[in-house]
């Protein structure tokens, strides 16, 4: 029996900053002090506050150590674990208040969160099935198999109002109902773990921190629709997630929670992993299933929908990881509990991956209907360096930018669509005054042009032409007519593309045109980039009154574009320098090296 538990984050973020070495060093120091029977070290999934990683929490005190270094471990073990003196200096400073230490749940980052899908992340050891069972794991599967009919399960999910967390927000219960209604000798339950949106990593965190919640939910779905086989399509770029999920599947088989005659009820269910090679289009349901079948990942027209003809032409349901992570909780706590959270049409909670210009980079789970202002400025800790908020991008390459005027809109599926963005999988990238919105639109469009599978013309050629126009604008070669042409082309691509990739690809362009048209006009008419990002519209100049002629910039310049003039400013000893605009490649090296702040870009 341990008296203390030390939880070390083993998510991808903290692992990349040495958390596994920290866990090793902890075990070593604990053994050195003879505490190995008293203190248990557990490697968990993601805590969410990735900006402060590596993260380590000591219970029962609940002390939250942030940005831990391997060198700090001997001190923490000797002082805190052996003598009971918390090393206040190394704690997350927001939890330290004068002489007392606040509970982590009272800090700005955690106070407004409500963890349902992430309930076990950062609590259990994802490689131990017993930890999951201790937190009521597999109780929902037991309840479903012994007390409920498949129809009752589907009705429960329908009543909860759960909608797909992967992007479009289709009601999950309805999907299950359609697949259950189709008779077939074999049906499939699939999971989309091909998290492709740049900036979204909630699915990875669930797989890494709580893989059994996915297995349990897929078995429940199998019972509901009458399927005995499951497939998880997961990116090969998520090695930790793949490893832990495979361990979890093996453990579930060993316990007989996957396999034949589960709980002695005669229900059979088993599942396998399929690794994806990282093509964005394989997040689209028909392309994903085609890829699982071993063919090139290309979408096909719907209907027939997967509920009728899906994987191997059999009725199939496909849900995203975060959607599945809610299922067991809905079964255990009842649909009313789930429906009591959120807004009228969007129930429950949603995980957002905060990134970009924000202080608390990481994962947050909040009830639907929370405003963007609360997410960015309260939970996210605001914008670094006192910069001004410009926009938040949601929905990745399929979504749009939300300007400041909509900061107080309660976030749910329908409200985001109404303001020209979308929920997507929940990536939320914050942009400040230094971001050029034309450049942002170009960035996302470059991504979709690269990732377009090429099967249908509107997407393959349409997005390419759109990108060419954007590129001209960022080079100062745009015309005002181009803006109308772009809008027309966007609508055409949306209306005619085969799958979701093309249908949503123009969204970043449309939403920036809608809210930041002035920036486009500045690029076209004034030939200026107001944020100072688009290189071709920039000019670096040296203020000859401020230049001390030290020559530092000319030594840094990679193309020898800086030379000495014959002008010496009053009070300076050496002549000022100047930049030859024709040679300048606008790398900015001179500006960042100048000690006299004499170089400007405009």
């Amino acid at each position: 029996m341990y008296r203390s538990n030390v939880l070390v984050c083993g998510g991808t973020g903290c692992t990349s900053s040495n958390s596994l070495q920290i866990a090793e060093k902890l075990k070593e120091e604990i053994a050195k002090n003879g505490l190995e029977k008293e203190v248990n070290v557990i490697t968990t999934g993601c805590f969410g506050l990735c900006a402060l990683g590596p993260i380590m929490v000591v219970y029962p005190e609940g002390s939250f150590y942030s940005m831990v270094k391997v060198e700090d471990i001997p001190e923490i073990v000797e002082e805190h674990l052996l003598k009971g003196r918390i090393v206040t200096r190394l704690l997350y400073q927001e939890t330290v208040e004068k002489d007392t230490i606040k509970s982590l749940n009272k800090t700005a980052f955690y106070a407004k969160q409500k963890r349902v899908a992430l309930r076990n992340c950062g609590v259990i050891d994802p490689e131990k099935i017993d930890d999951y069972i201790a937190r009521d794991g597999y109780a929902a599967l037991g309840k479903v198999l012994t007390e409920m009919t498949p129809d009752e399960v589907i009705q429960t999910i329908l009543d909860s109002g759960l909608r797909g967390r992967g992007g479009a927000g289709f009601p999950t219960g309805l999907k299950w109902k359609f697949a259950a209604a189709n008779d077939a000798d074999q049906k499939y339950v699939c999971c989309n773990a091909d998290e492709g949106d740049p900036g979204a990593f909630m699915d990875r965190s669930v797989l890494e921190g709580d893989p059994h919640s996915l297995i349990e939910a897929m078995a429940i779905a199998g019972y509901a629709i009458g399927a005995s086989k499951g497939r998880v399509y997961v990116r090969a770029e998520y090695p930790i997630a793949v490893k832990r999920l495979q361990i979890a599947i093996d453990q579930a088989r060993e316990y007989g929670l996957l396999g034949k005659d589960i709980f002695g009820t005669g229900f059979d269910f088993d599942m396998e992993l399929r690794l994806g090679a990282g093509a964005f289009v394989c997040g689209e349901e028909t392309a994903l299933m085609t890829s699982i079948e071993g063919k090139r990942g290309e979408p096909r027209p719907r209907p027939p929908f997967p509920a009728v003809k899906g994987l191997y032409q059999k009725p199939t349901i496909l849900n995203n990881v975060e959607t599945y992570a809610n299922i067991a909780q809905i079964i255990l706590n009842g649909p009313e509990w789930f429906a009591s959270m959120g807004t009228e049409k969007s129930k429950g909670t949603k995980v957002f991956a905060l990134g970009g210009k924000i202080n608390h980079t990481g994962l947050v789970e909040i009830p639907m209907g929370t405003t963007l202002r609360e997410i960015v400025f309260e939970i996210g800790g605001g914008i670094p360096n006192g910069k001004k908020f410009k926009a938040a991008q949601t929905g990745g390459p399929s979504g749009g930018c939300i300007p400041e005027e909509h900061l107080d809109v309660p976030i749910d599926y329908d409200n985001l669509l109404a303001i020209g963005s979308m929920m997507g999988s929940g990536g939320l990238i914050v942009m400040d005054e230094d971001n050029c919105m034309v450049d942002v639109a170009k960035f996302f469009l470059e991504f979709t042009v690269d990732e377009s599978c090429g099967k249908c013309t509107p997407c393959r050629i349409g997005t390419k032409r759109l990108l060419e126009m954007l590129d001209k604008i960022t080079k100062g070669q745009g015309t005002m007519e181009m803006l109308d042409e772009m809008e027309e082309l966007c609508e055409f691509i949306k209306a005619n593309s085969l799958c979701g990739l093309g249908q949503t690809a123009p969204n970043p362009v449309l939403s920036t045109l809608r809210y930041f048209r002035n920036e486009y006009i500045a690029h076209i008419v004034d030939k200026k980039c107001p944020a100072g990002v688009c290189k071709d519209l920039l000019e670096y100049t040296i203020d000859r009154e401020k230049c001390a002629g030290c020559g530092l910039c000319s030594r840094k310049c990679p193309v020898q574009a800086i030379s000495v003039t014959d002008y010496t400013a009053p009070g300076k000893r050496r002549p000022a320098l100047e930049i030859d605009a024709k040679k300048c490649i606008k790398c900015g090296a001179c500006m960042s090296t100048c000690k006299f702040k004499a170089i400007y870009k405009a």
Partner: protein
């Protein structure tokens, strides 16, 4: 797994370890003095005795055992403080693993302070 009872058995067995991993503001707290003086006087076996006794009785959800530094009465070590929410703090002195069993049973479970082990009894 062939029955829900099997799952229940695993859950009961595993629960004890996971129970530690949350903050429970309503839990009773047992603070064992673990500064140099306390450790030298034998605080470690006392601390372990508390952990084991509480685990044996399945009280991990309601009682937190933790260490604290020196509280300045080194001659009375090992010193243990018991805080039950809504009640006065009780300080036990010169604790031993044998005394722990009685403190858990009488004080923590049945809410009767073991007066003869407290600092008040010794000082008189």
């Amino acid at each position: 797994m062939k029955s829900l009872a099997e799952l229940q058995a695993i859950r009961d067995r595993a629960k004890a370890n996971v129970a530690l991993r949350k903050e429970n503001p309503n839990a009773a707290r047992v603070l064992v003095g673990m500064a140099t003086c306390g450790i030298a006087a034998g605080a470690r076996p006392v601390l372990n005795a508390f952990t084991e006794e509480i685990a044996k009785r399945g009280l991990q959800d309601d009682i937190v055992v933790t260490q604290t530094g020196c509280i300045g009465i080194c001659q009375y070590e090992p010193v243990v403080e018991v805080e039950i929410p809504g009640q006065d703090k009780v300080t036990y002195v010169k604790m031993t693993p044998e005394k722990v069993v009685r403190v858990v049973n009488d004080h923590l479970v049945n809410k009767n302070v073991v007066t003869e082990y407290t600092i008040g009894a010794i000082e008189n």
